[in-house]
Amino acid sequence: MAAIFQTSRFILKTALSVVLLLAGQVVQAKTLPVSPTGEIRSVKEAVRLAQSYDTILIASGIYHENDIEINKPLTIIGRQNPVIDAGFKKGIFSVMAQNVLIAGLTLQNVEESFTKNYAAVRVRGGGHITVRNNTILNCYYGVYLEQTDSCTVRHNYIRGNAKQESTSGNAIHLYRTENITVADNKVSGHRDGIYLESSSNSTITGNVSQNNLRYGLHFMFSDNNSYQRNKFIRNGSGIAVMYSRNIIMTDNLFEQNWGAAAYGILLKDIVDSRIERNIFRQNTTGIYAEGSTRLYLKNNEFRNNGWAVRLLGSSEDLTFEENNFIGNTFEISTSTNYNSNNIFRGNYWSSYTGYDLNHDGTGDVAHKPVRLFSYLLEDIPTSVVLLRSLFIDLLELIEKVAPVLTPENVLDNQPSTRLNTWKS
């Protein structure tokens, strides 16, 4: 009996506190409607009138506004897709507060500048800011986060009109941030799709970054980040990641990054990181690693690339385990004969010519993924003119019988004779 009494008291108390909480909210926060014909006709005006934690509700229409400063916690929501057009003068939102939400807007025509980083949404300082479900068109920078933390950029469509690298900005730009989530955005036509500098503990998930002038994803000095289920397609130079440690890249797709200096991923001074279950398809170079150490690459698929993997001599302690190499012109290319302690184990190589007598799925002869010609190409790039010539085929045959030039220690002792499979 006492127990029942206690339980019902608990329920009563909880219900009461919830009601009080809701009531408090209702009393505190009011909603300011903005519409082209209403009482408040501009977002700037609404922001000026609003108290902290108010909601600004923007009705559909075109608002010609720029440089809207937000210096208090606000919720700004667009209903039926209102458009804020900066008319190529400065940026649109400039946020310097905590707890701001910007959602459901179309932001367009931000000015290009060589001295100021104008953006559709520019965040400096503050924190806990959410930018979601917006369409950002023809803006110099899309979303620019600086010196802030715990923000979310989700489900935005950002399309730029970048013509030249020097006069264009990035779609999503993170500089000196912590704990940012960038998820499910579609970005294109900017200089870099997603850019991180000195930003740590971020999660970049489910984004599609394509047709950007330079890199689909570009990060530097950004440790402890994870990149998952993103798609990077047809970017000018692919993806470049540099000077970072503890990176996790899983389940990403790197596709059709073509060109003289284009890479699926360019890894420059990346340390202690994992690259797993990614797909590299039809890139000039799948992975280009320079000065990168202690990387673990497992279950990646390299298909129809020019070079699946290019390792420069300074890349050490790399482990390639159970990856699939299918139909690449060159599988592994390296410029050095020096033993760099890279391990290849249980990978499937479509050019494997050995046999498997006991049918256990592991080839009985080691596979040497470095072709003589790829070795030659690292030294003499012009010799690419001899690709698929009879002379080179003959040389490679001789090299295979009696190896002289190609590195002895780059080999897979347990090549898989079947395609490796995994669950993503």
Binding site: A260, T284, G306, P381, V385, L386, L387, R388, S389
Partner: protein
């Protein structure tokens, strides 16, 4: 019907009657069909086919050309006794043989194409391969005829014709590589493009590789090649170079036989 077309017709039927041209065509039919059927990947199949075409077409044309020129010697002498222009006799024989070889090749590749009808892009690739094959046939038949005119001794003529083929197919690339190794410190992209113009086999190979997906795979140097050979101008220049390769040996051959004492 003038004497030239009559002789072309005769040479053409002569080659077909001996089954060789038919076998040659059948060979390409079987090879290309097998490759396309089993590889599943059109581009991969085309690359393999390219290797075969570039190796065999010049070789077969050379061997056929030399054999035909020497074997039809008596018939040629008979024709020379008739009131027919020398140019017509020799040009007719050359064209007859080239046409029949080129036809077998085109039929072999063409029937395969009809069997595995692909996209427009794929047909362009296959068309390009057939075109290069045809041009190579014309080039190496011409070279073979020239050798047969230059050397009375058929063993010598045969040997030198084969040497020319070997030079173009293998040795030239070796020399090119040596050149690239020695002068590696210099920007060689343009020089390399120039040097490939001097070898019809290399030129054909690059022309086709640039069309295929592998074009973009070639990195920086490939981009330089593509910038020249991939454009309309580059196309015209390289096809022009292949035509020069046809006409120079042919004209030398016709000039030689004009004054030759049979």
């Amino acid at each position: 019907m003038n004497s030239l077309t009559k002789i072309i017709k005769y040479s053409f039927y002569d080659t077909w009657r001996s089954w060789w041209a038919l076998l040659y065509g059948l060979f390409f039919l079987v090879i290309s069909a097998t490759l396309l059927y089993f590889s599943g990947d059109f581009n991969k199949a085309i690359v393999s086919l390219l290797n075969i075409v570039l190796l065999l077409v010049p070789l077969i044309s050379t061997v056929f050309g030399v054999m035909y020129a020497y074997n039809s010697r008596e018939f040629t002498e008979l024709l020379l006794a008739q009131p027919i222009k020398r140019n017509n006799i020799f040009l007719g024989q050359y064209l007859g043989l080239t046409l029949s070889l080129a036809l077998s090749l085109s039929l072999g590749l063409g029937i395969t194409f009809l069997l595995f009808a692909g996209t427009a892009e794929e047909s362009v690739h296959l068309g390009m391969l057939t075109l290069c094959g045809t041009l190579l046939t014309a080039i190496f038949t011409g070279l073979a005829f020239l050798m047969s005119a230059l050397f009375e001794d058929r063993v010598k003529g045969f040997g030198i014709a084969i040497l020319i083929w070997l030079f173009a197919a293998v040795i030239y690339d070796g020399l090119l590589l040596t050149f690239l190794v020695i002068f590696n410190d210099y920007p060689l992209e343009k020089a390399t493009i120039g040097l490939t113009l001097f070898n019809p086999i290399d030129l054909s190979r690059i022309l086709i590789l640039l069309r295929l997906e592998t074009a973009a795979l070639l990195g920086y140097t490939g981009a330089v090649f593509n910038k020249f050979l991939g454009t309309a101008l580059g196309m015209v220049v390289s096809l022009g170079a292949l035509l020069v390769w046809i006409f120079v040996p042919l004209l030398l051959f016709l000039k030689k036989v004009q004054n030759k004492d049979f």
